[in-house]
Amino acid sequence: MRVLKLIFKNAFRHKLRTLLTVLGIAIAVTAFGLLRTVYTAWHAGLDMAAPDRLISRHSVSFIFPLPYAYLDKIQRVPGVEMVTYANWFQGVYIDKNQFFARLAVDAKTYFEVYREFLLPPDQYEAFKKERNACVVGETIARQYGFKLGDVVNITGDIYPGDWQFVVRGIYQRRDETVDGTQMVFHWEYLNERMRTDAPGRDGDVGWYIVKIADPNRSAEVSSQVDALFANSRAETKTETERAFQQSFIAATGTIVTAMNFLSFVIIGIIMLVLGNTMIMSARERTREYAVLKTLGFSGGHLVGLIGGESLLISIAGAGVGVLLTFPLVEVFAAALPKGFFPVFTIEPITLTLAVLSAITVGVTASIFPIQRALGTRIVDGLRHVG
């Protein structure tokens, strides 16, 4: 108990220095937490990706459409359980800062394939029956105050014109990793308008989502789908949903990698900050450690004293840092365009990593001072003027 008290008293011997070190660690942990949260938000799509879903898109680029006529052919491929499709609609709601995914989908099958979107049966029926109905995710419903029966006005950009949708459903997320920011409406509604307003742009879908019976056969089914349309005017590229999401992330890969790298650079910075403090403290106490050794305290005791102090400071910093991370992430999320990240929450793994890093830093930062304290002969330590 007395040794713990000594660790505590040693840690706060130079209150300002310790306070600044704790703050330094806290700021670094907070920055680490924020960067990791952005990093995980970027990868959230990968976590959401289902192993039994394939995405079939135009082989040249995602932005080129595929003929609606492919639907029947894909459905007949052995191993395919169900096929649905979607179109990226985009548009502007209020202004360009209000960002959330707006998709034209097959109303009859979309929610059958995306089982993680939980839609009450009555709302599902209401959605299917009405041509200009839409379903919104619980997150954007909360953000914009959407209620059933509300009319949502969207100004089209990719598909010009004024568009009105009636909210007939609000889907809940199966869990925290599921995107709650989608707005989906009938593809037929879009297709009809295109037929009249922009002939030639009708009959196209953005991509197909293929639900397969056996995820282990994804490569085989993908090849079969692509083989169907080989040498056609719109060849397909079929891949798992995860691979599809990864191709998006790859486009911003350098930034994301830099962010990930930076988060670990921060750990290095913490280590230097704490290491510096511990080295200064240990040097100042060289004589005290020699006195303790003289009194019979063993190397193990010194390891406990120095390591304990280093850990105490690092854990205090981590604690403050973790507490600061929550409001900072909130502020950051509020500063982003709404819905920029479908899922923007602090993952438990981020907090665990932050705390584990701080503990590792605490242990590592004490190695040199411990070595020095143990390696100094008592007679030299007693002569030390610090």
Partner: protein, 222 residues
């Protein structure tokens, strides 16, 4: 048989590529209950000899036997335990831990024992009472005078009831009055509590309090 037997001890320090001999085949016997003053000019080897007797340094050659134990052959951990059990230290600059109270400083050596908290408290209070600081138990070193700090250090040295007390210039940093108090206290520890004391000092007046004065010069007893 003497309590402390120093036999043909030599000590050589290595400084870079140079070897500096400090003690030359020195032998010394100190009987139990003795109060010995080691005197000599700077660099004569008196502190080195004290360190060897106290087990905080090892001879290059020869043996130091204390109450039948050849401490020159003990491992580091065994030597640490031996020091804890047998030696009380008094330093010139007191060497108290500044963030601990007088009570906590005196209690430090007892943390290595299996004594209960209550037993430790009893012993610390007794040791502080012996040095006349029973009313300063909860003062921090910076709240005490130099003489008081040295008395706390003496209390820390005696709290484990050691066989031997070693003191390195215990009055070297004190004014005359405080030095006198400390020397009186040490003499009392020797006469009343039968402690064997080995004291290094430059001060002839301090050395007069000892029963025996041994002089060193250039690593030899003269």
């Amino acid at each position: 048989m003497s309590l402390i037997q120093v036999r043909n001890v030599a000590k050589v320090y290595k400084r870079d590529t140079f070897e500096v001999p400090v003690l030359n085949n020195l032998s010394l016997d100190i009987p139990e209950g003795e109060f010995v003053a080691l005197m000599g000019p700077s660099g004569s080897g008196k502190t080195t000899l004290l360190n060897l007797i106290a087990g905080i340094d090892r001879p290059t050659k020869g043996n130091v036997v204390v109450k039948g134990t050849d401490i020159s052959t003990l491992s580091e951990s065994a030597l640490a335990q031996w020091r804890s059990d047998n030696i009380g230290f008094i330093f010139q600059f007191y060497n108290l831990i500044p963030v601990l109270t007088a009570f906590e400083n005196v209690e430090l050596p007892l943390l290595l024992t299996k004594l209960s908290r209550a037993e430790r408290k009893k012993r610390v209070e007794f040791a502080l009472a012996v040095v006349g600081l029973g009313d300063r138990m909860y003062h921090y070193p910076k709240q005490l005078s130099g003489g008081q700090e040295q008395r706390v250090a003496i209390a820390r040295a005696i709290v484990t009831d050691p066989l031997i007390i070693v003191a390195d210039e215990p009055t070297g940093d004190l004014d005359r009055t405080s030095a006198e108090e400390v020397l009186t206290l040490m003499a009392r520890l020797n006469s009343e509590f039968k402690k064997t004391i080995v004291m290094v000092t430059h001060d002839p007046h301090a050395a007069q309090r000892a029963h025996v004065q041994r002089h060193l010069e250039k690593g030899d007893l003269v």
